[in-house]
Structure formats: structure tokens, C-alpha cells
């Protein structure tokens, strides 16, 4: 990456696919699995994480010249914890029911390694604009990943999507999908799918290079 100019769109898009936080970097798994039993939970969690990611990215990037190197991790954690507390209270104000079903997992965004990882690896070294793009891209990538797990688990496990029933009553729901083990299985299958697609991409690139040379 050194010395190479990265375009702004690329900065945003990399979070969606090439460096997808969940499926490629395998970061931030705990909330990804814990709250993805229904699509609406997954969406809320994704949006909350995106907000914290964006705001902490902005703050860290803006303050990056004032934070001493030795105290940076503690400062980052304090910044992140403040925004998480804000999100926690906002969700509680919007929907108490949603807040109850997400439980302590909103507060646990603090220790989502994805956010601290981006603050340390990106926002503390790059300008404000780039950090915003990076935070948004990673956040959207995280939300998409979470939503895809949530949608699969809700359709198979409860036979509904966003609470709307999809199948006639005769549909036998896969209870295992709502249980914790379903989260592991669905993620494993999605990881396999992403691995397979990426392998194919690499192969195709190799072949086109061979043809060219």
C-alpha cells in the first residue's frame, strides 16, 4: 500500500468486499453472531456499530496529533466508550423492546475489536475525509455481513423476515437456526462461500495474466 494512491471510492468499497470486516478479516464476530438471530436485531446492531465506527473514526482522526503515542489505546477506548454510551441511551429511547432483545450487546460494542482496530490502524494515521470514508465503508460492510447472517437465520429458524411471516403454517421451522449453534453454522457456510468466490477471483486473475504474458 505504501506510496500507492488509493481513490476515495476504493477507500469506501474495500470495506464491502475486499476487506470485509466479518468475512475476510474475521473481526467483530461476537456481536455478529450473538444478535443475528433475527434480521431486525442484526440491522440495529449493524447501524449502531456503523455510527460508533464513524464517530470514533472522526474523533480519533481529528485528535490524532494531540494524543500522545503512549496513551493512545486508552484514549481511543475512552472515545469509543463515550459514543457507545450515547448509542445505548438512544436505542433505549427509540424502542425499549429492541433494547431488551439486544441486551448487553449494545454496550459490548466497546470491545468490538473492529472499532479499536480501525482507530489504531487507519484513523490515527489518515486525514479526516479518508477516515470518514473508511469508517462508513467498514460499517456498511459489517452491516451487510450481519444482515446476511440475520436474514438466513430468521427465514430458516422462524419462517419470517423482519417479523412478517413468509410461509404457510405447514412450514417446519429449523429451530437450530435460532439457537446459538445456528449462528456458527450459517457463518461457517457464508465463510466458505466467500472463500470460494475469492479463490475463483484469484484464479481468474492468474489466468488472465498468463494469457497476457
Amino acid at each position: 500500500m505504501l506510496g500507492k494512491e488509493v481513490s476515495s471510492t476504493d477507500e469506501f468499497l474495500k470495506g464491502l468486499w475486499r476487506e470485509n470486516p466479518v468475512f475476510v478479516q474475521v473481526l467483530g464476530l461476537c456481536p455478529a453472531l450473538a444478535v443475528s438471530n433475527t434480521a431486525i436485531n442484526a440491522l440495529t446492531m449493524g447501524l449502531a456499530t456503523t455510527f460508533v465506527l464513524l464517530m470514533s473514526g472522526i474523533s480519533v482522526s481529528a485528535l490524532r496529533n494531540f494524543i500522545p503515542r503512549e496513551a493512545r489505546i486508552v484514549s481511543f477506548i475512552c472515545i469509543i466508550a463515550s459514543f457507545v454510551t450515547a448509542v445505548d441511551y438512544v436505542i433505549q429511547a427509540i424502542s425499549l423492546e429492541l433494547h431488551r432483545s439486544l441486551g448487553a450487546f449494545i454496550a459490548l460494542i466497546v470491545v468490538n475489536c473492529l472499532i479499536l482496530g480501525r482507530a489504531e490502524a487507519f484513523a490515527s494515521k489518515n486525514s479526516l475525509g479518508r477516515s470518514v470514508l473508511d469508517g462508513l465503508g467498514m460499517g456498511v460492510g459489517f452491516t451487510v455481513a450481519l444482515l446476511s447472517i440475520g436474514v438466513i437465520r430468521e427465514i430458516l429458524g422462524s419462517g419470517s423476515l423482519f417479523g412478517i411471516s413468509l410461509f404457510p403454517d405447514t412450514f417446519q421451522t429449523w429451530t437450530v437456526m435460532v439457537l446459538p449453534s445456528g449462528g456458527f453454522f450459517v457463518t461457517a457456510v457464508l465463510l466458505l462461500l466467500v472463500n470460494w468466490l475469492r479463490n475463483r477471483e484469484v484464479e481468474a486473475e492468474k489466468q488472465s495474466q498468463e494469457v497476457a504474458s
Binding site: 477506548i77 463515550s82 475489536c113 449453534s181 456458527f184
Partner: protein
Amino acid sequence: MNDASHWSIFVNAALVNNFVLAYFLGLCPFFGISAKLETAARMGGAVSFVMLVASVCAYLINLLLDAVNAPYLRIISYILVIASTVQLVEMLMRKLSPATFRAMGIFLPLITTNCAILGLALFQTNRGYGFTQAVTYALGAGAGFALALVLMAGVREKLDLGNVPDLVKGIAAAFIVAGILSLSFMGFGGLGR
């Protein structure tokens, strides 16, 4: 005030609602350090210890925060206490047992971002556990975490010797194993009620 018995709190935290396999907490070390049985056991021990200390600290902080009526400071003060506890454990370990300290390496400081520990502190507050209940809960959660980590490491050591397709190797295989482990832990449901 919660009036659950100590036994049921322990069994619940360790087996029925295992932190890793039912609550998905602490997945990063669970997948990161479970390749070797030896390191897995050490990590389990260290995490259990930090959990115990963090639980006691969280209980005291909560008393303080309730006294000054500032619940919105809860998340930030918990995480700061956990970070300093980990630092303390690190210093103690370096002084008392340099060999173990070197063997743990980078994993020790990383315990700070282990969501199982912050999760433990938050859950015990949400449920309104008393002091001894909180300690029991921490012991159970730590035992459950260590158990899951050791089981996983055992399976993965065996899996290394097996004939696994390239595509599945690594993290995907670990997820499938975790899914099956989680299914088998469902069998404990109903215990400790």
C-alpha cells in the same frame, strides 16, 4: 436483588449459558488461541483470573456509581478498570513467574478487548447479583470459558491430522466445530434451574 442459589448461578454460567458457546462472548481468543492445547489451557486460566478480579471491581464500582447517581459512566469506568486489571496481572506475572509471562506473550494484553470480561461485568449488574453471587458467577463463567477453549483445542489438534479439503481448512472448519460443540452444550439445558 436476585435470589438465585449459588449452585444454579455456577452451573448456568459454566454449562447451560456458556459464555462462548451460548452467548458468543470472547470469540476472538476462542478462535485465535485454540490451535494448541497447552496455550489454550493457560489462556483459560488467565481469563478466569481476570474475570474474577473484574467482577469484584465491577461490583464495587457499581455501588459507587449508584451512590453518586451516575449510571451513564458505567461502560467507560468498567472498561478502564478492566484495562488496568489486565495491566496489573501482567506486571504481577512478570514479577512472580517470568516463564509463564513469556509463554503467554501478546495474548495477555489482548484480554482487555475480550468481550467475555466486559460482558460478565455488565450481566452481573443487569441481573442485580449480590457480592457472593457475583463472585460465583465469575467463577462459573471462567470455568466455562476455559472448558470451551480446551475442548476446542483438543478437537482442532486432532483435526490437523485429518484429511480436510483446502477450502474448509482454518477458520471455516473451526466455525463448524464450534457449532457442533454448541449443539452438544444445548444438552445441558434444564440443569441448575
